[in-house]
C-alpha cells in the first residue's frame, strides 16, 4: 500500500474524457479497453462461458467504438454504456445461455451427495440450491434476467442499470422484483434449508 501512497499522484482521466479524446484521436479509445475489458469478460463468461466471452468482448468494443459519437459525454463513467452494449450482444446467444444454466442441473447435485454432513455450511447451501437456481434463471424472461444479472453480477446501481438498458429506473425495479420473486419461489420450493432459515 505504501508505494501507492508515495507514488506521484496520477489523475485518472474520466471515461467521458477518453471518449471525447477518441473523437479526434481514435487510438485513445483503447484506454477504455484496458480499463474494462477484463471486467466485461468476467461478466460474459458467467452468462455464456469462456468460449464466447473473448470474441463478444472484442465485439462490444468495436460496437462502442463505432457509436462513440453518440456517447453522452455528461456520463463520466462508461460502464453502464458498455454493459448496455454487452447485454444486447449477449441476448443474441439466448440459447447458449439457457443451455449453460441447464447444464448446472446435471452437475450440481453430485457435489452435494459427496458431503451430506456439511449441508449446513453456507457454501453447501448455495451448492444445494444451485439446480433450482439454474432452472429458475433459465426460465426467467430475458428482459427480466438482463436486469437481474446486471444488478447481481455487474455491481451497477439501479440508476446505472436503467441507463445501460435505456429504461426508466421504475422499470428496473419492477423487472428486478419479478425476477427475484421467481428466484425465491424456485429456491423455496426445492431447498428445505431455506424454509428453516
Amino acid at each position: 500500500m505504501v508505494p501507492a501512497m508515495t507514488a506521484p499522484p496520477t489523475v485518472r482521466s474520466l471515461d467521458s474524457d477518453l471518449v471525447r479524446e477518441s473523437l479526434t484521436r481514435p487510438e485513445a479509445f483503447s484506454a477504455l479497453f484496458d480499463r474494462y475489458a477484463a471486467m466485461l469478460y468476467r461478466y460474459v463468461s458467467r452468462r455464456l462461458g469462456p468460449e464466447i466471452a473473448e470474441d463478444l468482448v472484442g465485439e462490444t468494443f468495436l460496437v462502442a467504438f463505432a457509436r462513440r459519437k453518440s456517447y453522452d459525454l455528461a456520463c463520466e463513467d462508461a460502464r453502464p454504456w458498455l454493459f448496455g452494449i454487452v447485454t444486447r450482444l449477449v441476448s443474441r446467444h439466448r440459447r447458449t445461455e439457457a443451455a449453460r444454466y441447464r447444464s448446472l442441473l446435471r452437475t450440481a447435485p453430485e457435489d452435494v451427495v459427496e458431503s451430506p454432513a456439511d449441508r449446513v455450511a453456507a457454501g453447501v447451501t448455495a451448492q444445494a440450491s444451485r439446480p433450482a437456481l439454474a432452472r429458475a434463471l433459465a426460465g426467467i424472461a430475458a428482459r427480466d434476467r438482463d436486469v437481474l444479472l446486471l444488478v447481481a453480477w455487474s455491481d451497477l446501481s439501479y440508476e446505472e442499470v436503467a441507463r445501460a438498458l435505456d429504461i426508466p429506473v421504475g422499470t428496473v425495479r419492477s423487472r428486478l422484483n419479478r425476477a427475484r420473486r421467481k428466484l425465491r419461489a424456485a429456491l423455496g420450493d426445492t431447498n428445505p434449508l431455506r424454509e428453516e432459515a
Binding site: F29, R42, R46, G49, D55, A197
Partner: protein
C-alpha cells in the same frame, strides 16, 4: 440465505478469468480505431502476416480444398473417373512462362461465390471469384504455404483470352477481375505474371456447392472435443460424436471465434480433422454405388480443374496436405497498403511481395 447472495455465489463459480489472448481483441479494436492505414502493416510484422480479411473464405477454402483434393480422388481412383473434373477448356497460359523449381508444386485455387460451376451459369458472366489462393508445396513436402491474394488488390492484368476465344486486353484492375472477365485461364495467367511462380495446376470450386457435396457423401462424422457455437456462421454444434450435414460442415469450416492468431493452430487442426473425416467417408462411399453416383453428379458441378490435374496428382497433394503438421502450414497474405488513388483498394507492397514470391520460387 438471500436469493441475491445465492445468485452472486453462483456467478462467482461460473466466472472465468480473462485469458492472455484477450489482448488480441484489443488489437482488433486498434486495427479498427487506427483505420485501414494500419490494418495490414503496423500491427504485425510484414512477413508473418496472417489473413485478417477473408478469413472465412480461407477456412472455407481449406475445407473445400480438402474435399476437392481428398474425397474426389479417393472415389475417382477406385472407379477410374480420372477425367471427370478435368476440363479440357482450362489450359495453361501460352507463350513464355516462369520456370518451375524442381519438385515444387504450385496450385492456384479459385473459390467462387456463386454457383459458377453449375451448368446454367457456366455460359454466363455472373460468377465472381471470391477467393484466390496459391498453395505452394516445396520439394520434399515438409511444409505448405498458402498465399492469399486480397481481392481488392489493384494489379496489372496481362492480356488473355476467354474460354470462348475472345481476347481480353491487358489492363490495371482488381485482381479478381481476371477471373470475372476472362475465366480460369486468365486467372492462371495473371497469377503467373504477377508472382513469377509457375503454377502447375488450377482448381476452381464453388463454395455453395460444398454443402451439397457433403450431403451427397451422406454427411461427415466428426467428434468434437467441445461445443462449437457461432451465431454468425449459424453454427451450433454440441460436443461429442455426430454426423455433420453439409451446412454444418460448412459452418464448422468457417467458424470465427476460434480464429485469430492465438488459436490459428486450432483452426488448422479443425480443418485437418475435417479432411480426415472426409477421407473416411469417401472411402466408405466406394462401396455404395447409389450414393457414389449422387456424389459424382455433385462433384462435377462443384469442382473444376485443368485436365492435367488428375486423380494421382490430387492424391499426392491430399497426402502432403494431410501429413504436414499444423505448424507447418503457413498462411500468408501478399503484403499490401491502401492504394494511393483509392483508399478502399489495395496496392501490393512491391518489395515485400517480391520477397515473398522470390522465397517461393526457389524451393
Amino acid at each position: 440465505m438471500d436469493d441475491l447472495t445465492t445468485l452472486r455465489d453462483l456467478g462467482r463459480d461460473l466466472e472465468h478469468e480473462p485469458p492472455a489472448t484477450l489482448a488480441h481483441q484489443r488489437r482488433r479494436l486498434l486495427d479498427t480505431a487506427s483505420g485501414p492505414r494500419w490494418t495490414f502493416r503496423a500491427v504485425r510484422p510484414l512477413w508473418t502476416l496472417r489473413v485478417t480479411r477473408g478469413w472465412a473464405a480461407l477456412g472455407l477454402a481449406a475445407a473445400v480444398t480438402a474435399a476437392a483434393a481428398v474425397a474426389v480422388p479417393v472415389v475417382f481412383r477406385t472407379y477410374g473417373f480420372q477425367a471427370a473434373v478435368g476440363d479440357p477448356s482450362v489450359t495453361a497460359p501460352r507463350g513464355e512462362r516462369p520456370p518451375g523449381a524442381e519438385g515444387t508444386l504450385d496450385i492456384l485455387f479459385v473459390g467462387t461465390d456463386s454457383e459458377a460451376l453449375n451448368p446454367r451459369h457456366r455460359a454466363g458472366t455472373g460468377a465472381r471469384s471470391d477467393t484466390m489462393l496459391l498453395i505452394h508445396l516445396p520439394a520434399g513436402r515438409k511444409k505448405a504455404t498458402v498465399v492469399s491474394f486480397p481481392r481488392d488488390s489493384i494489379v496489372r492484368i496481362p492480356s488473355c483470352e476467354t474460354p470462348g476465344g475472345k481476347p481480353v486486353p491487358a489492363r490495371t484492375d482488381m485482381i479478381n477481375s481476371a477471373y470475372d472477365k476472362g475465366g480460369l485461364n486468365c486467372a492462371w495467367r495473371t497469377v503467373e505474371s504477377l508472382t513469377g511462380i509457375r503454377v502447375d495446376h488450377v482448381v476452381e470450386t464453388d463454395f455453395s456447392g460444398f454443402a451439397k457435396l457433403v450431403d451427397a457423401l451422406g454427411g461427415v462424422e466428426m467428434t468434437l472435443p467441445r461445443a462449437v457455437v457461432d451465431p454468425k456462421a449459424k453454427v451450433r454444434l454440441p460436443a461429442g460424436r455426430q454426423i455433420l450435414n453439409g451446412r454444418a460442415a460448412l459452418g464448422y469450416a468457417r467458424v470465427r471465434y476460434a480464429l485469430g492468431d492465438g488459436s490459428d493452430l486450432m483452426r488448422v487442426q479443425r480443418q485437418q480433422r475435417l479432411m480426415g473425416a472426409l477421407v473416411k467417408k469417401a472411402e466408405k462411399l466406394t462401396g455404395d454405388p447409389a450414393k457414389l453416383a449422387g456424389f459424382l453428379t455433385e462433384a462435377r458441378k462443384w469442382v473444376r480443374t485443368d485436365p492435367g490435374f488428375d486423380a494421382e496428382t490430387m492424391l499426392a497433394v491430399a497426402e502432403s496436405l494431410r501429413t504436414v503438421g499444423p505448424g507447418e502450414v503457413e498462411f500468408v497474405t501478399v503484403p499490401v497498403h491502401p492504394h494511393p488513388e483509392d483508399r478502399n483498394r489495395l496496392q501490393w507492397d512491391a518489395r515485400g511481395a517480391e520477397r515473398l514470391f522470390a522465397g517461393l520460387r526457389k524451393k
